[in-house]
């Protein structure tokens, strides 16, 4: 059975801090790993990673994948209160997405 495990499950930081969110996975037919940000209800797409060692960046967010060790990290630098959300790590083994439980991030002023 495919598994996606995220840590920590929750995190509280102060504005301006840097955070690292972790995701490890076991997938029989790995195609890609995705990160989504979920505020209220709809997950919004952040990154798709398919190759090891290539960092993807978008503003203060960055992510990298290690296909040998089967994990990914999502970094957020200079956090802002608007970064408060649940961050979902997801694997794609064809079409159906396999979601982790998410990391709930709270950024306090």
């Amino acid at each position: 059975e495919d598994k996606v495990v995220q840590s920590p499950l929750s995190l509280v930081v102060h504005e301006g801090d840097t955070v690292t969110l972790n995701c490890s996975y076991e997938v029989t037919n790995f195609r890609s790993l995705l990160w989504y940000k979920q505020e209220k209800k709809a997950p919004t797409f952040l990154f798709m990673l398919t190759s090891s060692g290539i960092e993807k960046k978008s503003g203060r967010l960055s992510s990298i994948l290690d296909k040998k060790e089967l994990f990914s990290i999502l970094n957020i630098t200079a956090t802002q209160t608007g970064d408060s959300a649940i961050y979902l790590c997801v694997t794609n083994s064809g079409y159906a997405l396999n979601f982790g439980k998410g990391t709930s991030l709270l950024v306090t002023p």
């Binding site: 996606v4 195609r31 890609s32 995705l34 989504y36 209220k40 209800k41 709809a42 997950p43 919004t44 797409f45 798709m48 398919t50 979902l88 997801v90 794609n92 083994s93 064809g94 079409y95 159906a96 997405l97 396999n98 979601f99 982790g100 439980k101 998410g102």
Partner: protein, 118 residues
């Protein structure tokens, strides 16, 4: 707007009733997915449509759940004889090509329908 839309946003029903949840995907997207998210959990896959056909319905929990997409656009998730355990947020997503696009086909999510079964 140009995103995935879902109606209703909230639905409260009584145990044993029938409900329908609607999803309008992004125009032109051939693939449509339904997920269910229980409190404190990540979304779980229910069913995937490629065009009008259900390419994979292996995630539907039992035969009380059924989904259709008759014209390859709007989809309806139908739940018969609802139970309290069906309470969850039901998320719909669409992607441009589905399996034709392979693993690089990004799924875009709607705002979800929060279903509460009393």
């Amino acid at each position: 707007g140009a995103g995935v839309s879902q109606t209703p946003s909230n639905k409260v029903t009584e145990k044993g009733k029938y409900v329908e949840l609607r999803c309008d995907p992004i125009s032109g997207h051939t693939a449509l997915y339904w997920y269910r998210q229980s409190l404190g959990q990540g979304p779980e896959f229910l069913i995937y449509f490629q065009g009008t056909g259900a390419a994979d319905d292996s995630g539907l929990p039992n035969d009380r759940f059924f989904a259709v997409r008759p014209e390859g656009s709007v989809s309806t998730l139908k739940i018969q004889r609802t139970e309290r355990g069906d309470s969850a947020v039901y998320l719909c997503a669409s992607s441009p090509r589905g399996t034709s696009g392979g693993a690089l086909d990004t799924q875009y999510f709607g705002p979800g329908t929060r279903l509460t079964v009393l």
